[in-house]
Symmetry: C2
Subunit: 688 residues, 2 copies
């Protein structure tokens, strides 16, 4: 790794084909040190020549030059010392790693694995008479995992995104028999997908195998797609990926974290667009971008065709769209410029089509303006208050107001269109809402303030993230509110009762809190006849208006992650409480006697003591930590109260925020490496 770093202070220098350096033998400290010496020297000359005031053609006066040079010499001396220090350290660390290899390169052999016959021959059952996986092949494979599996409520998490990770990372080991069902084998750090789409970071630096994450909980991973569910028998129907067979996974608690898909807004030809929701998307985009540049540099490509190949259209001025546009711009500036025919760089055009007046319209106004100015300087073509009319492989058609104020239709010839706006329901989420009569929301599964899916048996099914939306309707709780508040049962609500009701409302729907602060004002406002009591019709009106004021949470990673963590903490508490209850009931677990098959013979219900979510923890509260976005060698932060924006410094802040949010040290290390490699050698231009 030392070798990877040592050219850091030679801007843009490419050492690939210098025979001298190519022979530098590996792990031979001296030569490395010599290399570093070279590095430092060339740093001196570098900065020397890069100092503006000094022009090679007319050499400056000797004294000034000597001072400058001596300064640089001292600098280089310190550089050398510090570099040496690091070499020593690195060599030591590396040798540690090599010693460590001695342990990892094992030739141990597995002795017969204990395996429950029921796991090999699944009994069939359930509404569709499919095999039911009550015991999994790895349930009994080691003794303590077995102990964990036995008698524990079965927690099944559907999905492998932010919500699911939130749950898995907050759960304690041993409270639940955890099974994760996901069609992807890894979890993705979605916020950096735009960077991955142009190769600023590698896709593998953004993903962590779900198996490694469930390993901490001794959990199980199933590579499958949830297709259906039976809420009464508590069976999740999973279509296995690979053999396509269907199987029931029994659950005591089900967490739905399947995320969302992009909505088409009924625009024709959206299948010609790229999306940026998965790693596969990022890879496809990167391949297309490289294709375009390679094709554009071919001798047979006509000038007009070249312009089409090099025009990149992004539909949607939200963070994803803006960041992708910015990354593409960076890519052209820093890498295409140096290695592709210059004509390619010259012909590049980047267009961002936004339906609102401003890009990043969810951010503060200052930020939108800053981003727009930045793009203005960079020559990124912003098209605001415009609607995309149609997309074809050859071009994008949009309508926008012209100078004359009339709506006019425009066409951009392009070979790359990214669609990054709007979300729609994932098929499984859709299926769930279809199964439940009182699910009316169009874009997500409605959950109550405790994130329980409305209409399912209490405390069994939860939904988080993009897949879920917290109910904001107060009227639907009208009766219970009156019930609880109307002490004197006179069918009217006087102010004291109203105050009680406000408390209830706050408890039930925390998001309503800000809207009922001025209890007195609201009361008087809706007390039309001024008899200092609210008749029920007045109350209905009031609740309706309040409900309409509440805005639902955005579909962001931040929300999903917080909801997941909330569920995880809740389940931990539940487990603790249940244990206490069980001890109270004197139910002592027979740790030795019961056989593995005990799991199957005993009814999952039995081990469950009904503990309502309300009794153990408060409803979910979203704490907005602010939003940030990368806009090309600059970044913007919207921290609610105040916002912060700037160049490189902000960019590093942006990086370090994301760096901290990583799910594992591994991805942290890889990200850091990617950023450094990009700094030293630029992005990889290979089309893979």
């Amino acid at each position: 790794m030392s070798v990877g770093l040592q050219f850091g202070n030679q801007p843009g220098l490419y050492l690939g084909s210098q025979p001298g350096l190519m022979q530098s033998p590996y792990m031979r400290p001296f030569s490395v040190i010599q290399l570093r010496l070279q590095a430092c020297r060339s740093f001196v000359t570098e900065s020397n020549s890069s100092s503006k005031d000094h022009n090679p053609n007319s050499p400056p006066s000797p004294p000034r030059r000597r001072i400058l040079f001596s300064r640089l010499l001292t600098l280089s001396k310190y550089t050398l010392y510090l570099s040496l220090t690091s070499v020593v350290g690195l060599i030591v660390l590396t040798s540690f790693l090599f010693i460590h290899d001695l342990f990892t390169y094992t030739s141990r052999h597995v002795d017969r694995v204990p395996i429950n016959p029921l796991a090999l021959h699944l009994e069939r059952g359930g509404p569709k008479n499919l095999p039911i996986a009550r015991v999994l092949v790895d349930d009994d494979e080691d003794e303590d995992m077995h102990r964990i599996a036995r008698d524990k409520p079965r927690l099944v998490v559907v999905g492998g995104g932010w919500g699911a990770m939130g749950v898995l990372q907050t759960l304690h080991l041993g409270d639940y028999h955890v099974t994760v069902v996901s069609n992807e084998t890894f979890t993705t750090f979605t916020p950096l997908l735009p960077s991955a789409a142009v190769g600023t970071v590698q896709v593998r630096s953004l993903i962590e195998p779900i198996r490694k994450i469930v390993a901490r909980l001794r959990g199980h991973f199933l590579n499958g797609k949830a297709v259906d569910v039976d809420f009464n028998q508590r069976l999740l129907e999973v279509e296995c990926i690979g053999n396509g067979e269907r199987v029931y996974i029994p659950y005591d608690k089900l967490v739905i974290a399947v995320g969302s898909t992009s909505s088409t807004h009924g625009v024709p030809g959206l299948d010609h667009c790229f999306q940026l929701k998965t790693i596969a998307d990022a890879q496809a985009i990167r391949r297309r971008i490289m294709d375009n540049f390679e094709a554009a540099s071919l001798p047979t490509t006509s000038p007009s065709e070249r312009r089409r190949l090099l025009s990149f259209v992004v539909c949607g001025g939200g963070p994803t769209g803006v960041e992708t546009a910015a990354e593409i711009y960076d890519f052209c500036q820093e890498d295409i410029m140096n290695y592709f025919p210059k004509i390619c760089r010259e012909e590049v055009s980047i267009h961002v089509i936004q339906s609102r007046e401003h890009i990043l319209n969810t951010y503060s106004e200052a930020i939108s303006r800053y981003a727009e100015d930045k793009f203005g300087r960079d020559g990124v073509h912003l098209i605001t208050s415009a609607r995309v009319a149609a997309v074809s492989p050859e071009h994008v058609i949009y309508t926008a107001k012209g100078e004359d104020g009339k709506m006019a239709q425009h066409t951009i010839p392009t070979n790359f269109t990214l669609w990054s706006t709007g979300i729609a329901m994932n098929p499984f989420a859709k299926r769930v809402t279809d199964l439940l009569p009182n699910q009316v929301h169009k874009k997500a599964i409605e959950v109550d303030a405790h994130l329980r899916v409305k209409g399912t048996p209490q405390g069994t099914v939860y939904a988080v993230g993009d897949a879920a939306t917290i109910e904001t309707s107060l009227v639907s709780h009208f009766l219970e509110f009156v019930e609880e508040a109307d002490k004197n049962k006179d069918g009217k609500i006087d102010f004291e009762e109203w105050e009680v009701m406000v408390d209830r409302i706050k408890k039930k729907i925390p998001m309503a809190e800000d809207h009922v602060l001025k209890a007195r004002e609201i009361f008087t406002m809706y007390d039309k006849n001024g008899d200092n009591t609210l008749e029920l019709n007045e109350l209905v009106k009031l609740l309706e208006d309040l409900g309409s004021k509440i805005t639902s949470l955005p579909a962001t990673a931040q929300v999903a992650s917080q909801q997941g963590k909330y569920i995880g903490r809740k389940f931990n508490k539940l487990a603790r409480t249940r244990e206490r209850e069980e001890q109270k009931l004197g139910r002592v677990q027979a740790d030795t006697a019961s056989t593995p098959s005990a799991i199957t013979v005993k009814d999952p219900q039995e081990s469950m003591i009904d503990i309502s979510d309300e009794s153990i923890c408060a409803p979910f509260r979203y704490l907005h930590l602010g939003s940030l976005a990368y806009i090309g060698n600059a970044a913007v932060f919207d921290l609610g109260k105040y916002s912060f924006m700037g160049g490189l410094a902000a960019m590093y802040a942006w990086r370090s925020v994301y760096w901290n949010e990583q799910v594992s040290m591994r991805t942290r290390a890889l990200l850091m490496i990617d950023w450094i490699v990009r700094g030293v050698w630029g992005r990889d231009l290979s089309r893979l």
Copy 2:
């Protein structure tokens, strides 16, 4: 990066989901130091608990424990010091990189690029009247590149493998107008493909964009497939990738380095096999391996199906096959074991089918034996002296001698078959041999000792690597040999003349050298009638026998690379000589006057002065530096005279050899990182 390293001394410990560590803020030395402290402590406990003699249930006698512990404390203390040193160094280096970013994140804009109109509107011509790319879009883009382009002979290299890299890396800047035509945009470090196939290293660590390599020569890259060539008009016909259009690339010197494809040996169903020649192959294999393991851990998978999914068959016991088998074994041992159901690890079976008696049969006997023993210990199933009869998606059928000595047919159910034996001609190489009447070789283009393609105009077309084979037939030169040797023109060769002829033979076909050492013996042996002269019929017999003794060079990276470098050096010499000649002829280049279009109006011929290859350099000699192979936590080296084999130490030797052969510092750094990351966190289990 410091954070990436600091867990090196905690074997197998996965820190991904420890909330405490996850929050460790980036680039804050103190907390990093604390982490390191933790690391050291846990290292103490680690090794403490891992010490065999000490069993947790019965604690050992206090004094021994205390001694051990104090020792470990001191050890950890030094670890700490050294780690600190490295942190300091790393922080410094990283900050340098961040300063350096200030330079790389540029917002410079391109001013109008000078471009030759002829590059935008190609004239048509040639036998098929296709556009001819005499001027490329980036020929004039900067002044000195322009100067290089003008008047220089046009060197066109077809292919982007070892041969091509050899040429490009030895050429001097400015002697030729270089154009590389390749269907892949990058060059691949093929020897490590088996490692990439299981994720020991990342595919991106094995590739380097060809553009970056030609950049040093201010050369051009064309993403296309060579399909045809006109040797008289010196036009290479290229099918552009992307738009699929065809274009002629004019050349003065053409180097064919297109490599080879796998031969089918006429075995039915080989399209169900994987190959391992390209990055795409490696990616496909990795995906399949992960698919198999995921499918094998599904609850719906039957035991027999699981066994089939987890049986990996490798056809061919050469280095590639052996290394792939070894890597798959490593992968199971080190990663599958830890994160997949243990039953999966238990059911894994790896089979190597080899046609000869031994695997690695091109290596020394000791090495074959060592490898076979190693595989024996690892439980890798070796099937030697066996022929693959047929391959289907479900199984592989092979025939082998049973105990009873009779040939019997066997079937291995499998979902993964790698075909890694035999090479066949690449389509373009095939086309070339079809064009040339005197090309008789079945598997490659025949070239003379100077690597000139036989039958093409002298000094215009060369072939290297797998695509080429050096002629070994002496008889074909019978007449010129006699011509040169038979001084007294008596149609007989006496011994003096024979000695002359031997010199000629050595010069013409260096590979024959070893066979004509004992000139006297050979002479007498073939001088049947003992009249101390060789009649022509005797001579013919002699030359035929000699020729048949010569074995052609193996199709290895080593050969290709050496041949490429040979061509590169030759071309450098040619350029020097030509310059001298031109100065002699008083042809002074008009550096200022001529316009860009000068390139096209002047006939490429003109600038060429015929200089025969013989006159400037000796024929190509292959110097075998030895072969090596990785066989799973062990490696073997065959250095001709003696061979060397062993465990980890040898493995590191193996690594460092390949590490040195990298084409760029970038890939070196990435490889090093991959090896370390694998050491610390294991391989990535994500299916991508």
